[in-house]
């Protein structure tokens, strides 16, 4: 239902143009949890902001389209794009601690999308806000509180309630659980999963935390340096990973039961301001070849929709033999 085609997003900076996202082609299906994994600078937040139409002032879409149910939301006029935000697609930010206005009561903030989109009057909006808060496990004690009076987990639930209140078809959750403790984080993940089943919404779940994403997502896209590395179902990524970066991610996860020690991926994350030619993972890749420097990111498609963006798999040949 979300078809992203050939998306390239650029930031203008004093040092020149930065290509924050390039060659992004992916279809996100209805009612799935689609995970996006990447370290900082991978372009995962840029992707979220592009879908929301909230790129910072110095960012713009150079090419490509994002179709939601067939309509390209990048081509909407500002006023129409505003109608999509919060209503069709809503966002749960990283650092939800700060997503709430310190001067307004919780219930007013949760009810706000209803009033912004003129769905109903204030009284009804408040009633629905309380209903949604309750659904999120926040009882009447919290409704009239100010953000600073609530715990981090409670604030995060209020933010999710706000994102839910318009019954959107898509929720983008960008690092929703950073800065929360492990238990609160687990509770939150359960809430998101239940919501997704109950309300039949599509969730785009974005995180740097590979194990967390692999626990949540039906399908996963791995980004590296603004470009895709691998896209596939949960099973395909976890047990049939092809890309060296994906394999590195899997090996770097400490498994309590496993005997093998976790291995970190050597090297520094890519400098997006000055990326290497060809495959961006090349400088850190154990299996890199000279020809990786001219890789053009044409994917190798394996069984159905498992895509690997690696020179070794290009054209179906095993690159190692050359």
């Amino acid at each position: 239902m979300i078809e992203i085609e050939d998306l390239t997003v650029i930031y203008r900076t004093r040092e020149g143009k930065i290509r924050a996202l390039e060659n992004i082609n992916v279809d996100i299906k209805s009612n799935e949890i689609f995970g996006i994994v990447g370290e900082s600078g991978s372009g995962k937040t840029t992707l979220a902001m592009t879908i929301m139409g909230l790129l910072p002032r110095n960012g713009y879409v150079e090419s490509g389209s994002i179709k939601v149910d067939g309509d390209d939301i990048l081509k909407l006029k500002p006023e129409m794009a505003r109608m999509v935000r919060g209503k069709v697609i809503s966002l749960v930010f990283q650092g939800a601690m700060n997503s709430l206005n310190p001067l307004l009561k919780i219930e007013d903030q949760v009810a706000e999308p209803l009033l912004i989109h003129r769905s109903t009057n204030r009284g009804e909006a408040l009633r629905r806000a309380r209903e949604t808060l309750e659904l999120m496990g926040l009882d009447s004690f919290t409704w009239k509180k100010y953000p600073h009076e609530l715990s981090g987990g409670m604030k995060q639930r209020a933010v999710i309630a706000t994102a839910m209140i318009m019954k959107p078809s898509i929720i983008i959750a960008d690092e929703p659980s950073t800065a929360l403790d492990v238990i609160t984080q687990a509770q939150l993940m359960n809430i998101l999963k239940e919501l997704q089943k109950m309300a039949r919404i599509t969730i785009i779940f974005i995180s740097h935390d590979f194990p967390l994403v692999s626990e949540m997502a039906d399908r996963i896209m791995i980004l590296y340096g603004g470009k895709p590395s691998e896209i596939g179902s949960n099973r395909q990524i976890l047990s049939e990973a092809g890309h060296p970066y994906t394999k590195g991610l899997i090996n770097s996860v400490p498994m309590i039961s496993a005997r093998s020690k976790p291995e970190a991926i050597p090297g520094e994350p890519v400098n997006i301001k000055n990326p290497p030619a060809g495959c961006r993972f090349k400088p850190r890749c154990k299996m890199a070849l000279d020809s990786c420097g001219s890789y053009d990111y044409s994917p190798k498609i394996i069984e159905g929709d498992h895509m690997i963006f690696c020179k070794m798999f290009e054209g179906g040949k095993d690159g190692r033999s050359t």
């Binding site: 909230l54 002032r57 935000r85 809503s90 700060n98």
Partner: protein, 324 residues
């Protein structure tokens, strides 16, 4: 006592201590200066023998300095500031009408400047980095750099050339008014130029303060979150950004009150507006030290009080302080 009350009582305590320190400063400043100007003043032949004796007794001019200090404190709290050498009447009977006249000029100027400043600050902050932001910010900085006493002079020059507005005093000298309205309209006529001068100077300052507070706030996550709810720019600005930017603005304005008073004094001198600033100016030339001494204390107390009001207003508007 909750946190909020603790906070407030701490501020009030600081205010009281400040006032005591200011009064002490005031006392020693004038007594310890070369020649002890107050003593010289109170032996001035401008006063009658009776007045000198009364002052001697009241301020203990022949007593050791510490006893004079205690008497001075006591007299100050009773509103007794001695006798003006120039006006030959009690300082308070000269000072308080002047303070009232000052407020007639200062309050409207501050209020108008704040409203205009919020308006243009909002305009510039929303378009930050654009050409119109550059123009507004540049102009505000320029206005902020204009010497008050020079701007007033330019206004006077223009007003005299065009016979537009009276350039001196509060009323036409010796005028007799047929009605309250006639008197009021004369006052407003005289108010135009000093009000314009002071408002303009303050306006530049407030625009910059508002713009910078807003730019700070506009980076906050809750602004982005409001955008993701589908809110319009105008809605975000008015409902989320401005209320949050007004909080720091309140404290900055309160802290800068000393500067505001400085601007008011210069404006009063330029336009011979019979306020406390003009009184200070005349007192310097007349070596009327009792007036200077009292004016300093009164202005300082007014500023300390205004700061307390700003503190209370701030904590009332900010739930993070109100509900702790």
């Amino acid at each position: 006592m909750n946190e909020f009350q603790k906070y407030l009582s701490k501020r009030v305590l600081f205010a009281i201590v400040s006032v005591l320190v200011i009064i002490s400063f005031d006392f020693f400043l004038f007594r310890l200066m070369p020649g002890n100007p107050i003593l010289i003043d109170y032996r001035s032949p401008a006063l009658t023998r009776q007045q000198i004796e009364a002052l001697s007794k009241q301020f203990g001019l022949n007593l050791p300095i510490w006893e004079q200090y205690v008497l001075f404190m006591k007299n100050t709290f009773e509103g007794n500031f001695g006798i003006s050498i120039f006006y030959k009447q009690s300082v308070s009977s000269v000072l308080f009408p002047a303070l009232y006249n000052s407020l007639i000029l200062l309050l409207p100027a501050t209020i108008i400047a704040i409203f205009l400043g919020i308006f243009t600050g909002k305009f510039a902050a929303w378009r930050r980095g654009s050409a119109s932001d550059g123009v507004v910010t540049g102009t505000s900085m320029a206005i902020y750099s204009i010497p008050t006493f020079w701007l007033g002079g330019i206004f006077i020059l223009i007003a005299i050339k065009t016979h537009a507005f009276p350039v001196s005093g509060m009323y036409v000298t010796g005028a007799v008014y047929s009605s309250v309205f006639a008197q009021l309209s004369d006052l407003l006529d005289h108010l135009v130029l000093p009000l314009a001068t002071l408002t303009l100077v303050l306006f530049g300052q407030f625009t910059i303060i508002m713009r910078n507070s807003l730019i700070d706030v506009l980076q906050e996550d809750y602004i982005n979150f409001a955008k993701s709810k589908g809110a319009s720019d105008r809605y975000i600005l008015n409902k989320h950004a401005v209320p949050n930017a007004e909080l720091p603005m309140i404290s900055i304005i309160a802290v800068n009150l000393g500067l505001t008073v400085g601007g008011a004094i210069l404006t009063e001198v330029v336009f011979s507006w019979p306020g406390i600033g003009f009184l200070i100016y005349s007192a310097i030339n007349a070596r009327d030290y009792p007036i200077l001494q009292a004016a300093f204390v009164i202005i300082a107390i007014v500023i300390v009080l205004a700061n307390i009001i700003a503190d209370i207003l701030y904590s009332y508007l900010d739930p993070r302080i109100r509900y702790q």
